[in-house]
């Protein structure tokens, strides 16, 4: 099996990132947006891990950062889901466009 090199991984990361961003930009469902955010984070993770593999001097950092991002994603999901749950309790919907009561 031949070595793939860094580029395909970065391409995958970019693709995932674009998907995530598109998801955030188009979805009205709050859970969908959250999923988009997860995609973006994981795109970054792919990049980190790939770089850890192929870039010298970045081996340890890449893996540590990847772990950090996973923890961050978990925390972010917990907080975001809690917010969404509360929002649902109050408004019986998770449509983010309905969350406009603080608009000045």
């Amino acid at each position: 099996m031949t070595e793939l090199g860094l580029t395909p991984y970065l391409a995958l990361g970019a693709f995932l990132f674009a998907c995530g961003l598109l998801c955030i930009a188009t979805k009205r469902n709050a859970v969908g947006i959250l999923m988009g955010v997860e995609l973006v984070l994981n795109a970054a993770n792919v990049n980190f891990v790939a770089c850890a593999r192929y870039v010298p001097n970045f081996q340890l950092e890449g893996q540590v950062f990847a772990l950090l991002v996973i923890v961050l994603a978990a925390g972010e999901a917990a907080v975001a889901l809690a917010i969404i749950l509360n929002f649902y309790n109050n408004h019986a919907t998770v449509d983010v466009d309905k969350a406009d009561e603080l608009k000045g």
Partner: protein, 712 residues
């Protein structure tokens, strides 16, 4: 605590300095607490208890007693420190003295330190020498008796509703506030005295200024008092501008504010700047002293400062404030080049003559005393200017006692006559107020320069120094002649005051119904009278040079003073003759009435009016400075103000007109408003909008990077 203090006895002075500040702070906290609790005084609770514990609506006497007690403690510490220091000075080496009686610590670092230039540090510190120790003891002691006197004099401020008969308002009494300011005032002055560097002096200097502002304007409902407070403050600012210039020059060229370091730098290598700048620095520092010590041309504030309560006048004129200027001239003496010293001498001479001529014809008892203070300060400046360092500072110390006595005595008279200050409406008070009359007579004798009274020793020294200077430099003989004449005038106007107030028969109802003041006011008079007599004594007493106080001061004298002037002792006899002539004339005019003052006045003609109106200095300054500034202010206001009625104000606020300040500001405001309004649309609240912007921005940024790096 005691061992900590005695291990390094200079700390006594720090404690004694901080005590009045602590008293002021506690009074301030108490007053604030009481005001905070006032809204809840009807409720049952802690706030109510605190409110009534702190005196309720009625000013609490306890605060004043507390402040007085603290001041007394400070004075005791000061006197104990003086005794201990004098012992030490005799028995210990200079290095040991330096360790025990001086300390300094870094307060702030300025700038970055590198190999070439170490960071410059601002320091706070104290250094006790003979001058500091004597000044400290004097200031604390005199202030304490002024506090005691105030307990009685300000008693009507303890009323819940005090009626101010001059301003026609009824207001709460301000007993506590008065003592708060007094304490703060004393702290500032004591801090100034112990300071070992110019910067600390400057800070205390400004504190003294602001305290005098508060106290002169104590009856701020009276327009005259408010104006006098402003005048004192603003005139002092003029002097302080000069002081700041001096400070900047000293800082730039010496790199330190420490008196000792400046003194040794000057002694070893001379001034580190060009001679011209050295003169400018000296003049600048002296200008600050001119403002504080009310010398010509900045003397106009001091007589107006009489608007404050009489104990404040005593404090300003005797122990604090005006003493600060002379003290600083003495402290910074090595920084004055011969030219600057000549300026100092001439300023002093002109001031002492000017003030004495004005004092001849004033009829307000406090104004006579105020001008006599200005005149005596002129004597001190003259002495310092001609090189009589000891003479000038000795006069500062002796003057403090008899001037405090005279002012407190006049306070007693004013209170006894139910707030009558016009000498023409007094008379015959010596029978109704025997203690006040007698003690005032002591003060008058002392200031007139009667032998064996403290004033004689110092004035004699000043005049012999001035005469010595005049003989050595015949072109400056005026520096001796004017003071000699003025010594006679001093004796005349002080005896005139005493005869008008205390001798003869009462000339108005107020004087008929006068009564002696309570013991709390006469006791300070008696104590100060005793000291006014004997504070200058030495052995043998008929030799003014032998004054013990003077001998002590001599040991603090900067080395460069030696040989500046050779005192001429014949001056003492001439001064006595002049004083005797002055007293004789006063007796003839106001005692036995053999010469009718009205005839003299008629003969003097226009001169009388000229003196009566204080050489028209107020009018001159009014025309030269005040009016143009006020006119400028009105012009600026016209430029700024919109000339429309209130109901059209909204429309006027939206007028864009570049030719007026308002129009320009309107344009700015309206512009900001419209930008904000148009940007508001961008905040839609929809996440996808934000994300799109974010995305586009990121793409644009990457695009820019690509272009820049691909291109470069």
């Amino acid at each position: 605590m005691v061992s900590w203090l005695l291990a390094n006895p200079g700390r006594l002075y720090v404690v004694a300095t901080l005590l009045p500040l602590a008293a002021a702070g506690l009074l301030l906290v108490g007053g604030c607490l009481r005001n905070l609790c006032r809204p809840y005084r009807e409720d049952n609770g802690l706030a109510r208890s605190v409110f009534f514990f702190l005196g309720g609506n009625r000013p609490l006497r306890a605060g004043a007693y507390f402040a007085t007690g603290v001041m007394a403690l400070s004075a005791v510490l000061g006197i104990y420190g003086l005794v201990k220091f004098l012992n030490d000075a005799d028995s210990r080496s200079p290095i040991e003295l330096e360790q025990r009686w001086a300390a300094r610590t870094t307060w702030a670092r300025v700038g970055i330190s590198d190999a070439e230039r170490p960071a410059v540090t601002l320091e706070v510190g104290y250094r006790v020498d003979h001058l500091t120790a004597l000044m400290f003891a004097m200031v604390a002691f005199v202030s304490t008796w002024i506090f005691v006197f105030s307990l009685g004099y300000m008693a009507d401020e303890t009323e819940e509703r005090h009626e101010d008969h001059e301003a026609h308002v009824t207001r709460p009494g301000r007993y506590g506030r008065f003592f708060l300011f007094l304490s703060l005032f004393c702290f500032s002055m004591l801090n100034l005295v112990i300071a070992d560097n110019l910067f600390q002096v400057f800070i205390s200097w400004e504190l003294v200024g602001v305290c005098s502002f508060f106290l002169i304007g104590f009856y701020h409902e009276r327009r005259s008092a408010a104006l006098a407070a402003n005048k004192a403050f603003i005139v002092n600012r003029v002097g302080d501008a000069g002081f700041l210039i001096g400070l900047a020059l000293v800082w730039t060229y010496f790199g330190t504010f420490n008196f000792e370091e400046i003194r040794s730098a000057l002694a070893t290598s001379g001034p580190p700047m060009s001679h011209g700048l050295f003169v400018v620095a000296g003049i600048g520092i002296f200008l600050g002293c001119v403002g504080k010590s009310a010398q010509f041309p900045l003397h106009t504030w001091l007589p107006d400062a009489m608007e404050g309560p009489t104990p404040v006048s005593a404090l300003i004129h005797a122990a604090t404030m005006v003493a600060a200027g002379v003290y600083l001239v003495g402290r910074a003496f090595p920084m004055f080049s011969p030219e600057v010293r000549l300026v100092i001498a001439y300023t002093g001479t002109f001031t002492l003559f000017l003030a004495a001529t004005i004092a001849l014809v004033q009829t307000d008892i406090k104004r006579v005393l105020a001008y006599s203070t200005v005149s005596q300060l002129g004597f001190m400046m003259l002495a310092l200017g001609v090189g009589g360092w000891v003479a000038g500072l000795l006069h500062l110390l002796t003057h403090a006692f008899f001037k405090a006595l005279l002012f407190l005595g006049s306070g007693s008279v004013i209170l006894g006559c139910h707030h009558e200050q016009d000498l023409m409406k007094m008379g015959g008070l010596r029978r109704r107020m025997p203690v006040t009359a007698l003690t005032m007579l002591v003060g008058v004798l002392a200031i007139a320069g009667t032998p064996f009274f403290s004033g004689w020793y110092s004035k004699d020294l000043i005049l012999s120094n001035a005469m010595g200077f005049g003989l050595a430099h015949p072109e400056h003989i005026l520096l001796f002649v004017l003071p000699l004449v003025t010594a006679g005038m001093t004796a005349f106007y002080m005896f005139r005051l005493w005869f008008l107030a205390f001798a003869g028969a009462a000339r108005a109802d107020a004087a008929w119904h006068a009564h002696e003041s309570p013991w709390v006011m006469t006791l300070p008079l008696v104590v100060l009278a005793i000291l006014s007599v004997c504070v200058g004594w030495g052995w043998p007493p008929w030799e003014p040079d032998a004054s013990y106080l003077g001998r002590l001061l001599e040991r603090a004298q900067p080395g460069m003073v030696h040989g500046l002037v050779q005192p001429a002792h014949a001056a003492g006899w001439l001064a006595l003759v002049a004083a005797a002539a002055g007293v004789g004339l006063a007796v003839l005019m106001y005692g036995t009435r053999q010469i009718d003052p009205a005839v003299v006045r008629a003969k003097a003609g226009a001169l009388y009016g000229f003196l009566r109106e204080k050489w028209y200095f107020d009018e001159l300054y009014d025309a030269l400075f005040v009016r143009p500034v006020v006119a400028l202010a009105y012009a600026t206001a016209r430029f700024d103000k919109r000339a429309v009625p209130v109901e059209q104000a909204d429309a006027a606020d939206r007028t864009v007109n570049v030719s007026s300040l308002d129009g320009v500001l309107n344009a700015l405001g309206l512009g900001t408003l419209s930008v904000g309004r148009s940007l508001r649309a961008a905040q839609s609240g929809f996440i996808r909008g934000y994300v799109t912007v974010l995305l586009l921005a990121a793409v644009a940024l990457v695009g820019v990077l690509v272009v820049v790096y691909a291109g470069g």
